[in-house]
C-alpha cells in the first residue's frame, strides 16, 4: 500500500524536532510549524463545510474565538472553574459542537450566498459580543494568564518547544484521522453528494438538512478545538480583534489553495499560506532591511505588510489557473487510474 500524502506529511513533521537537535535551522522551522498546525486544524474544520458539503462559511473565526474564550474561562484562575487542560479542551469541543448546532438549526435551510452572509454576520456578532461582555470576557484585554497545559504530570512551559510541537501535532493527527474516516464512509459520501446535487441526493433518500447540520456541528467543534489550542499556546484568550474576518479568510484561503475537499490538500495549503506569511515574507523583509534596500521606518515597502494583498492575488490566480487546488481530491486521481481497485 502506498503512503498517502497526509500520513507522509505527519510523519515528516514528527521528525522535525529530532533533526532540530542537530541542526539549529530545523529547530526554528519547528517553532514556526506550531501555529501552522493550529491553522491546519481550523482549516480542516472549514473543509468539512466548504470542501465536502459545499457550504460557504465565512465565520469560522467566530468558532475559533468561542473555543479560545471558553477554554480561557474554564482554565484561568480569575474564574472559579479552573479545569485542567484535557477536560477543558474536551468541554470546549462539546461547546463548539453545540454552538454549531445552534447556529445551524435556524439557518441551514438557506442556500449558497445567503448562508455565507449569515455566517459572515455571525462572525462579527461574536467578535462584538466578546468585546462588549467585559464582565465575563474582560473586553479587549482578553483573559490571561492561562495556566500551562499538563500531561501526566509534565508541565508544558513556554520556553520548551518540542513538547508543544508534539502536542499540537498529535491533535492534528487525531483530527486528520477523524476527517479521513468520515470522508471515506457513508457520511462523507452523502456530504459530497449534497455538494454535487442536493436534489438528486435527497431523491436517493439522503436527508440534506441532517447531513448539513452534522457538517456544521463537526466543523464548528474542530474550529473550537483550534481556538482552545491557540489560547493554550498564547497563554491568553487573546483579544476579540484577533479573531476577525481576516482569520476566516485565511482559513478559506488555505482550503482553496490546498484543494477543496482534500485533507492532504488542506495540510499543504496551511503549510504554504501560513508558512509564506510567517517564514518567507518575514525572512525576506529582514533580508531587505539588513541590506538597507528598504527603510525600516516606511511601512509600505515592507513585504510583510503586503500579505493580504498577496493572499488575494494568490486566490485569484488559483481560481483562474488551478481551481481544484494544489492537491486535488482523490476523485481526480481515480479518473487517471481507472483500473486500480476501488479506493473507498
Amino acid at each position: 500500500m502506498k503512503l498517502r500524502f497526509h500520513w507522509a506529511f505527519l510523519l515528516i513533521a514528527a521528525l522535525v524536532p529530532v533533526v532540530g537537535l542537530f541542526v539549529p535551522a530545523a529547530q526554528s522551522l519547528g517553532e514556526l510549524l506550531r501555529p501552522i498546525f493550529i491553522m491546519a486544524i481550523l482549516a480542516l474544520g472549514l473543509n468539512i463545510l466548504t470542501g465536502f458539503t459545499g457550504i460557504l462559511n465565512l465565520g469560522v473565526a467566530a468558532f475559533m474565538a468561542l473555543g479560545a474564550y471558553v477554554y480561557a474561562i474554564l482554565t484561568c484562575d480569575i474564574y472559579p472553574f479552573q479545569f485542567g487542560f484535557w477536560p477543558a479542551v474536551l468541554l470546549t469541543v462539546l461547546v463548539g459542537l453545540l454552538a454549531g448546532l445552534m447556529l445551524g438549526l435556524p439557518t441551514i435551510r438557506l442556500r449558497g450566498d445567503y448562508l455565507a452572509i449569515v455566517t459572515l454576520g455571525f462572525g462579527e456578532i461574536v467578535q462584538d459580543s466578546l468585546k462588549n461582555m467585559d464582565v465575563i470576557t474582560k473586553g479587549t484585554q482578553g483573559i490571561n494568564p492561562l495556566p500551562a497545559p499538563t500531561f501526566a504530570g509534565y508541565v508544558f512551559r513556554s520556553e520548551t518547544y518540542a513538547p508543544w510541537y508534539y502536542l499540537f501535532l498529535g491533535f492534528l493527527a487525531l483530527v486528520v484521522l477523524l476527517n479521513r474516516n468520515l470522508q471515506r464512509s457513508r457520511v462523507g459520501r452523502a456530504w459530497i453528494a449534497i455538494r454535487e446535487d442536493e436534489l438528486a441526493a435527497s431523491c436517493m433518500g439522503v436527508n440534506p438538512m441532517k447531513m448539513k447540520l452534522l457538517a456544521f456541528s463537526l466543523g464548528a467543534a474542530q474550529c473550537s478545538l483550534a481556538g482552545a489550542l491557540w489560547a493554550s499556546f498564547l497563554g491568553s484568550s487573546g483579544e476579540p480583534g484577533n479573531y476577525d474576518f481576516q482569520v476566516s479568510i485565511i482559513a478559506l484561503c488555505i482550503v482553496i489553495v490546498g484543494g477543496m475537499g482534500n485533507i492532504a490538500g488542506v495540510l499543504l495549503g496551511a503549510l504554504v499560506v501560513v508558512g509564506c506569511n510567517s517564514l518567507v515574507l518575514e525572512t525576506f523583509t529582514n533580508f531587505l532591511k539588513a541590506h538597507e534596500l528598504i527603510s525600516s521606518t516606511n511601512v509600505y515597502t515592507a513585504p510583510g505588510n503586503w500579505k493580504y494583498m498577496l493572499f488575494g492575488l494568490a486566490l485569484i490566480l488559483m481560481m483562474r489557473f488551478k481551481p481544484e487546488g494544489l492537491l486535488p481530491s482523490r476523485q481526480v486521481k481515480a479518473e487517471l487510474h481507472p483500473h486500480e481497485p476501488p479506493p473507498s
Partner: protein, 345 residues
C-alpha cells in the same frame, strides 16, 4: 390493490394549472408509460410523486400510505427540545452579564475557594427577583419561537424527496443528475444510503459494523453495476462516462435503493437505436426483479414495445388510458399528437 394511487392530483403554479385532476393507478409488477406532447405535465406528475412538489390538491398514496411523514412521539420530543433549547438560550442571552456578576464574580475571590452554596442561593434569588422580565418573558418567548419555528420547519419537510425515497420510490431525471465528481461506484453506493445502518460514530471510530457494511455494500454495488453492464467503469468519474452509460448509471443508482417503484424520466432520450433496444431489455429485466416501472418516454418504439398500459396526458389532463393497442387507436390521442384532420370534421 394498486401499488401507486394518484387521485385527482392537481398542481398549480400561480395561475398556471400544470396538472389538472389526474388519476393514475399503477398495479404492482407492471410497466406503465406516461406519454404526451411536450409540456403536458408528465415530469410535474413525477415531481409530485417523489415529493419535490407538494400537490395543490388531490392525494398520492403509495402502498396504501400517503408519502409524507406522520406525527410521531419522537417528532413531539424533538419539537419540545428545540423549544426548551431556544428558551434556555434566550434566558441566558438576556441575563448573562448580570447573572455572571451575581453568581460567579460575587462569590469568588482570586485564588480562594469558590463558594458553591451562596452562589446557588444568589442564582435562585436573582431569578426570583424581577422574575417577570428576567425569567418568564424570555422563557415564554423562547419556547414559543422555538416551537413555532420547529413546527413550521417540520410541516414544510413532511413531504420531501427523502420521505418518498424511504417509502420505496426511486427515480431518474430527464436531464441526467449524477454526482459528477464522484466515482461510478460511489454513485451507486449513495443510492444504497437508505439501507445502510452505519452512523457517523461507527465511521469515525471504524467500528466492526462499518467494515462489515462497507464490504457488503461494495459487493452489492458491483453486482448492480454488472446488471446494467457498467462493471468495467467502476472507478471512473461519473462525468467522464459516455451519455448512454450515464443514463445506465442513473438507473443503477436508482436500483441500488431496492425500490418497489421505479420512475424513469425519458430514459431513451438521446440514445441511438441499438442503445434503445438494450435499454428496453434492461427495463424488462428490472420488471422481472419485481420492480414496478412508471416510464415517461417520447420514443414510441420503446413505449409500445414494453408497456403493459399507457396513460396519455395533454395540457395537464389525462385524455386516454389503456393497453398500447387501445391507445394507438384512440382518436383523442391522435388528435393530441397530430392535430385534428380536416376529413374527420
Amino acid at each position: 390493490m394498486s401499488l401507486l394511487q394518484v387521485d385527482k392530483l392537481t398542481m398549480r403554479f400561480g395561475g398556471l394549472v400544470a396538472v389538472d385532476a389526474v388519476t393514475l393507478e399503477i398495479p404492482p409488477g407492471e410497466i406503465v408509460s406516461l406519454i404526451g406532447p411536450n409540456g403536458a405535465g408528465k415530469t410535474t406528475v413525477f415531481n409530485a410523486i417523489t415529493g419535490i412538489y407538494e400537490p395543490s390538491a388531490g392525494s398520492i398514496r403509495f402502498a396504501g400510505h400517503e408519502t409524507r411523514s406522520e406525527f410521531h412521539g419522537s417528532v413531539a420530543i424533538l419539537l419540545l427540545l428545540t423549544g426548551f433549547l431556544t428558551a434556555g438560550a434566550l434566558i441566558l442571552l438576556c441575563n448573562i452579564e448580570s447573572l455572571w456578576e451575581v453568581v460567579i464574580t460575587g462569590n469568588y475571590q482570586y485564588r480562594q475557594v469558590f463558594q458553591w452554596k451562596p452562589a446557588g442561593v444568589a442564582f435562585t434569588t436573582y431569578f426570583s427577583e424581577n422574575s417577570g422580565t428576567r425569567l418568564i418573558l424570555p422563557a415564554v418567548l423562547g419556547l414559543f419561537l422555538g416551537l413555532a419555528g420547529a413546527w413550521a420547519v417540520w410541516q414544510r419537510s413532511r413531504r420531501t424527496p427523502e420521505v418518498a425515497a424511504h417509502a420505496g420510490i426511486a427515480r431518474t431525471f430527464q436531464n441526467i443528475r449524477l454526482f459528477n465528481q464522484m466515482t461510478v461506484l460511489d454513485n451507486v453506493l449513495l443510492g444504497m444510503d437508505t439501507r445502510l445502518r452505519t452512523r457517523f460514530w461507527h465511521a469515525a471510530l471504524r467500528l466492526p459494523l462499518f467494515w462489515r457494511e462497507r464490504r457488503d455494500a461494495t459487493g452489492m454495488a458491483i453486482e448492480i453495476l454488472r446488471f446494467v453492464d457498467l462493471n468495467r467503469e467502476v472507478n471512473q468519474l461519473a462525468e467522464n462516462l459516455s451519455y448512454g452509460h450515464q443514463r445506465r448509471l442513473e438507473i443503477a443508482r436508482a436500483l441500488a435503493m431496492q425500490p418497489k417503484l421505479l420512475l424513469l424520466d425519458e430514459p431513451a432520450a438521446g440514445l441511438n437505436p441499438a442503445e434503445s433496444q438494450s435499454l428496453m431489455e434492461l427495463i424488462l429485466q428490472i420488471r422481472e426483479r419485481g420492480i414496478t416501472v412508471l416510464l415517461i418516454e417520447h420514443d414510441m418504439q420503446v413505449v409500445m414495445g414494453i408497456s403493459d398500459r399507457i396513460a396519455v396526458l395533454d395540457y395537464g389532463e389525462k385524455i386516454a388510458e389503456g393497453t398500447p393497442v387501445e391507445v394507438r387507436a384512440n382518436p383523442a390521442v391522435i388528435e393530441a399528437y397530430l392535430g385534428k384532420s380536416d376529413a374527420s370534421t
